[in-house]
């Protein structure tokens, strides 16, 4: 955005590298991606798809949990931690605006997250392709998985900034972030599932449920990856609701959320008095 945002971003990158965060996040991604790729390699022959396709399907399931978690771990103390240290007042006394500060942090965190995703999924994908073969379609699916994981991470980065601004302290922000993760990634789906069961295939299930589902960025991520690739849908055994939606619904949701989240985070940050 601006020169000042880049200055903030550079300092944040120093911090991420120095406190080993970048290394740990990348390591976690590599280990989980590898474990899933090779644990899921058994049924390859039976379905008649290449190993990379299976690998991408399992990694999609993984990323729904891991991308939001890693993003929140990075962002939850970015405002509250700075306020606890007393350095936020000083930072805000400089000519950089609050939006510029937030955007600078976002750029650095997103870059770190992208690095971990590319290296983690890339390594697992390369190995799966090497051992079990890969078609052009499965390579596209891998690329899509990486891109959508970064987008999903971006959503939870900005939501993390919002929580960090609203919480009084870094400790409170950590608790609120855990709650946020639980709601978006676990409880939301459970609630929807309950509603569908009660509705017994009525109007809600037919017309409203798919839209409510795709409004959650974590579900939009899932739907986008599954709907776009028949083979991924096949192996993960999840179609149904996704097919009731227009193709643009999930991408629209996942692309809109980071922007919406940033605006909300910016508004929350405005209220912070250091």
């Amino acid at each position: 955005m601006t020169f000042r945002s880049f200055a903030i971003a550079q300092a944040e990158m120093h911090i991420l590298r120095r406190n080993r965060w970048l290394f740990m996040a990348t390591l976690i991604m590599v280990l989980f991606a590898l474990a899933l790729t090779f644990a899921g390699s058994a049924p390859t022959g039976t379905l008649g798809v290449d190993m990379l396709t299976i690998s991408v399907a399992s990694m999609t399931t993984l990323s729904v949990y891991l991308a939001p978690l890693l993003a929140l771990m990075m962002s939850f103390d970015s405002i509250s931690g700075e306020n606890d240290r007393g350095s936020l007042a000083l930072l805000l006394s400089y000519p950089a605006g609050r939006g510029e500060i937030l955007f600078g942090k976002f750029m650095a965190h997103l870059a770190a997250l992208s690095f971990a995703m590319v290296v983690g999924f890339g390594t697992a994908g390369a190995l799966a392709a090497y051992y079990g073969g890969a078609g052009s379609e499965s390579l596209i699916a891998l690329g899509r998985l990486i891109a959508t994981s970064v987008l999903l991470g971006a959503v939870f980065l900005v939501l993390g900034y919002m929580v960090s601004s609203l919480a009084g302290s870094a400790t409170a922000a950590a608790g609120a972030s855990a709650a946020l993760w639980l709601v978006f990634v676990v409880l939301y789906d459970l609630g929807l599932l309950g509603a569908v069961v009660i509705d017994k295939g009525g109007a809600f299930t037919q017309n409203i449920f798919p839209w409510v589902m795709v409004a959650n960025p974590a579900d939009a991520f899932r739907v986008w990856n599954i709907a776009a690739s028949d083979t991924v849908a096949l192996t993960s055994g999840m179609t149904g609701a996704a097919s009731a939606l227009p193709v643009w619904a999930a991408p629209a949701s996942l692309l809109l959320w980071p922007v919406l989240g940033f605006v909300m985070a910016r508004a929350a940050f405005q209220r912070v008095e250091p």
Binding site: H14, G86, A89, P95, A96
Partner: protein, 299 residues
């Protein structure tokens, strides 16, 4: 008024129902060093936050070199040292200062030279996490020197500094003032500000109760000068009787007198001849002035 680098007019601040600052007026001219004194909770930090635009003014007006608090131009011309500041422990001193230099725009400043100026050249590339409290304070001071500020606001700058660093701090403050920066130093510690500021403003429970030079404050407070008379041999009782003072130990008598009575008393003591061996005179100290103004025993 408006040509002052910092101009505070009838400023009040409410926190909920509580009035934290009431009708405060204060001006600091370019090159002037003003001490803002007051007990904890008097409202010093709040006033600084108002000047920085970090919190809203309830009523009144503040101008920083003609600009509103929090405006781009005001932030450009203000330097700030927060109370008990700390920085991200993972950054090095050089990286932290480089960030500030880039944020302040235009004037890059020579980062290593600035760190050298505050005595941190050895710790340039060490993580701030390894710094002592005094070193962090000095790093905070280094960023105040970035880009020739018009106004410098220092909140409790001496906390955590050893006496030698305090000397350095005041040398830096003098340097700032000499280059035309208006310096406002908030402090509850009195001993350091005494001789080193041009003016002293005292806040009591959000109200400014004094604002003048040390000499003028002393005169207006009319605080007594303390005379300690050492008696020769065992004349102490006799001296105490004639002067109306009190004996404080075997050979000394202490006497309080109003500023305008001082010479009269001294002449009286001189006339006592051989019975007096020595006289010590203590004018009211800032400490006493502060107690007088800040505690509110104004009769």
């Amino acid at each position: 008024m408006m040509d002052s680098a910092l101009c505070i007019r009838n400023v009040s601040k409410f926190r909920g129902k509580a009035k934290v600052l009431s009708d405060v007026n204060l001006t600091v001219k370019a090159g002037e060093r003003v001490a803002l004194l007051g007990h904890n909770g008097a409202g010093k930090s709040t006033l600084i936050k108002l000047i920085l635009g970090l919190t809203g003014i309830s009523s009144g007006k503040i101008l920083i070199d003609g600009a509103k608090p929090g405006s781009a131009s005001a932030r450009q011309s203000t330097a700030f040292l927060p109370e008990a500041v700390s920085f991200h422990p993972a950054l090095t001193g050089r990286e932290q200062l480089k960030l500030f230099a880039r944020l302040s725009g235009g004037a890059k400043g020579d980062v290593p030279a600035l760190l050298d100026r505050v005595g941190l050249s050895d710790a340039l590339d060490r993580r701030i996490g390894t710094y002592s409290k005094g070193m962090r304070q000095r790093l905070g001071l280094a960023q105040v020197l970035l880009g020739n500020p018009k106004v410098a606001l220092l909140d409790e700058p001496t906390s955590g500094l050893d006496p030698i660093s305090r000397q350095d701090l005041y040398a830096i403050i003098d340097e700032l003032a000499a280059q035309g920066t208006a310096v406002l130093i908030a402090s509850h510690a009195l001993t350091e500000v005494e001789a080193r500021t041009d003016r002293i403003a005292i806040l009591r429970k959000g109200e400014k109760v004094a604002d003048d030079t040390l000499a003028a404050l002393s005169a207006s407070a009319g605080l007594p000068t303390k005379l300690r008379i050492r008696a020769n041999a065992d004349h102490a009782d006799e001296i105490a009787r004639t002067t109306g003072g009190t004996r404080i130990n075997g050979a000394s008598v202490e006497l309080l007198c109003a500023p305008d009575q001082k010479m009269h008393e001294l002449r009286r003591i001189a006339a006592m001849g051989d019975t007096v061996s020595d006289v010590e005179m203590t004018p009211p100290r800032l400490e006493d002035l502060y107690r007088y103004f800040a505690k509110g025993d104004v009769s």
